[in-house]
Amino acid sequence: MSQVTLYTITGVILFFMGLRAFLLYAHLVRKILAFNVMGSGIFLLLVGIASRVPCAAPDPVPHALVLTGIVVSVSFTAFGLVLLRRIYAKTGKAHITTEMEDTDAQ
C-alpha cells in the first residue's frame, strides 16, 4: 500500500460521509455542504487512481476532469444557494419539509 492509496481510501470514506449527511439532514445549507464533501471525495478517488504507478508522472486525463469538476461544483453551489434564498424568501424555511411533517406540525 502506498501513500496514494491512503488518499484514495480517504476519498471513498469522504464520499460516503457526504452521501450519508446529504440523505439524512433536512437543512438545505447542510445538503449543499454535504454535496461538496461528496464531490471532494470523488475528486480524491479519481486523482488517486490516476497516479497508481509509483515514480511515474500521473495520468493527466483524470486531473483535467477533476479541474473541470471543481469549477462545475462551485457553479452548482452558487445556483443551489440562489434557489435556497428563493425558497427562504417565499416560505421562511430553509429545510425540506415533507407533507407528513407538515401535518404533524399542525
Binding site: 460521509m17 508522472a57 428563493r86
Partner: protein, 337 residues
C-alpha cells in the same frame, strides 16, 4: 524521509476526515462553513501531495475562497429561520426516522467497504491514458499535458463545461431577487477603511497573478480555470468593498463577457468542422494559437460568470427580515406623516 512523508500524509488524511465529520455534524451552520473552508485548504494541500498542482491552485481559490464566501453569505441570510418547535411531533418523527437512519448507515458502510476493497484490488501497474497523451503531445500545440487534455484532446468536455457555467449564470440571474436596492445602498462601516487599503494592495497583485497563470498554462500548472477563478476572486473583493456595484455594470457587457468563452469555442469548433475536419480537431500548425485564444476567452468568461454567481447571492446585509418584522425606515416615516 519516507517515514516523515508517511507521517505527514497520515496526519493530513486524519485531519481531512476529522474536519469532514465535524463540519457535517456541527449544529451551528456558521461554524460548519468555517470548518468547510479549512477543509478546502487541507484539500489543496492534499493535491500538492498527489502531484496535482493545477488542481491545488483551483481548489485553493475556488473551494476555500469563493464557495466559502457564498456559503457564509447564505448562512447569514437564513439565520432568522424559525423551526417548528413542537416537541411531541419531533419525538414521533424521530421514532419513525430511526430505522431509516440505521438502515442508511449500514448501507453506506457496506458500499464504502465494497468500494475500498475494489480500490485495493485495482491492477497496480496501469498507467491509464498517460501513454496515449504522451504519444500525442507533439501535435498538441502546448507543452503542458493538462492544458493539452483540457483544450485539445478533450476539448469537447471543456466546451460543454463552459456551457454548463453559462447556464448556471443565466439561472442565477433569473432567480435572484428583483429588489437589489438594499444591497446597493450597503452602508459604509468604519471597518471598511482596512478593507479599502487591502483592496488597493491586493487587486493589482491578483490581476498580475491571473495574467501569469494564463501565460504559464501553456507549459506549467495554470491555465484558463485558475485565471478565471483568480479574476472572479478579484471581482468578489471589489464587490465586497463597494468598489464595484453590480447594478452599475451595463447588462450588455456582462452578457458578452459571460458568453465570450462559449461563443469563441463554438466559433472555433464550427470553423474547424466547416473546413472538413472533425469537431475540435485543430490544425497542428495553429493549435498553439487557437488554445491561447480559447484560454483567454474562457478565463474572461469564468471570471465574469463567478462575479454573476456572487452578485446573485448578495451579502446578508440585504436579507429581508421575515420573522422579526422590524419596520424599515421608509415605513416609519410614512406612518409618522
Amino acid at each position: 524521509m519516507s517515514t516523515i512523508a508517511w507521517l505527514f500524509d497520515g496526519l493530513l488524511v486524519a485531519a481531512l476526515l476529522y474536519l469532514a465529520w465535524s463540519l457535517l455534524s456541527e449544529q451551528d451552520l456558521f461554524k460548519a462553513v468555517v470548518l468547510f473552508i479549512a477543509f478546502g485548504l487541507l484539500m489543496a494541500l492534499s493535491w500538492t501531495r498527489l502531484q496535482a498542482p493545477d488542481i491545488a491552485l483551483a481548489e485553493a481559490v475556488i473551494s476555500a475562497g469563493l464557495s466559502g464566501v457564498l456559503l457564509l453569505d447564505a448562512v447569514g441570510y437564513v439565520r432568522g429561520e424559525k423551526r417548528p418547535a413542537s416537541t411531541q411531533s419531533e419525538a414521533v418523527k424521530a421514532r419513525r426516522i430511526e430505522p431509516v437512519r440505521t438502515g442508511l448507515n449500514l448501507l453506506a458502510l457496506l458500499f464504502c467497504a465494497a468500494l475500498i476493497w475494489a480500490v485495493l484490488n485495482l491492477p497496480p501497474l496501469d498507467s491509464g491514458l498517460s501513454s496515449i497523451v504522451q504519444a500525442q503531445m507533439g501535435s498538441a500545440g502546448v507543452t503542458s499535458q493538462i492544458t493539452a487534455v483540457l483544450l485539445n484532446f478533450r476539448g469537447y468536455d471543456t466546451l460543454l463545461e463552459v456551457a454548463v457555467l453559462v447556464l448556471a449564470a443565466i439561472g442565477c440571474l433569473t432567480l435572484r431577487e428583483a429588489d437589489q436596492s438594499a444591497a446597493a445602498a450597503h452602508s459604509r462601516e468604519p471597518g471598511m477603511q482596512v478593507l479599502d487599503g487591502m483592496i488597493q494592495l491586493v487587486i493589482p497583485v491578483m490581476l498580475l497573478v491571473s495574467g501569469y497563470l494564463l501565460w504559464a498554462g501553456e507549459h506549467a500548472p495554470g491555465g484558463a480555470f485558475q485565471t478565471g477563478a483568480m479574476l472572479g476572486a478579484a471581482g468578489f473583493l471589489l464587490l465586497l468593498g463597494n468598489r464595484m456595484h453590480f447594478q452599475q455594470i451595463p447588462g450588455w457587457l456582462l452578457r458578452i463577457s459571460a458568453s465570450l468563452g462559449l461563443s469563441i469555442f463554438l466559433l472555433v469548433a464550427g470553423g474547424i468542422a466547416i473546413s472538413g475536419r472533425s469537431l475540435l480537431e485543430y490544425p497542428v500548425s495553429n493549435a498553439g494559437k487557437l488554445i491561447v485564444l480559447l484560454e483567454t476567452a474562457i478565463s474572461i468568461s469564468i471570471g465574469s460568470i463567478l462575479i454573476i454567481l456572487f452578485a446573485a447571492n448578495p451579502p446578508s446585509a440585504s436579507s429581508p427580515t421575515i420573522d422579526q418584522a422590524t419596520p424599515s425606515e421608509d415605513t416609519t416615516e410614512i406612518g409618522s406623516k
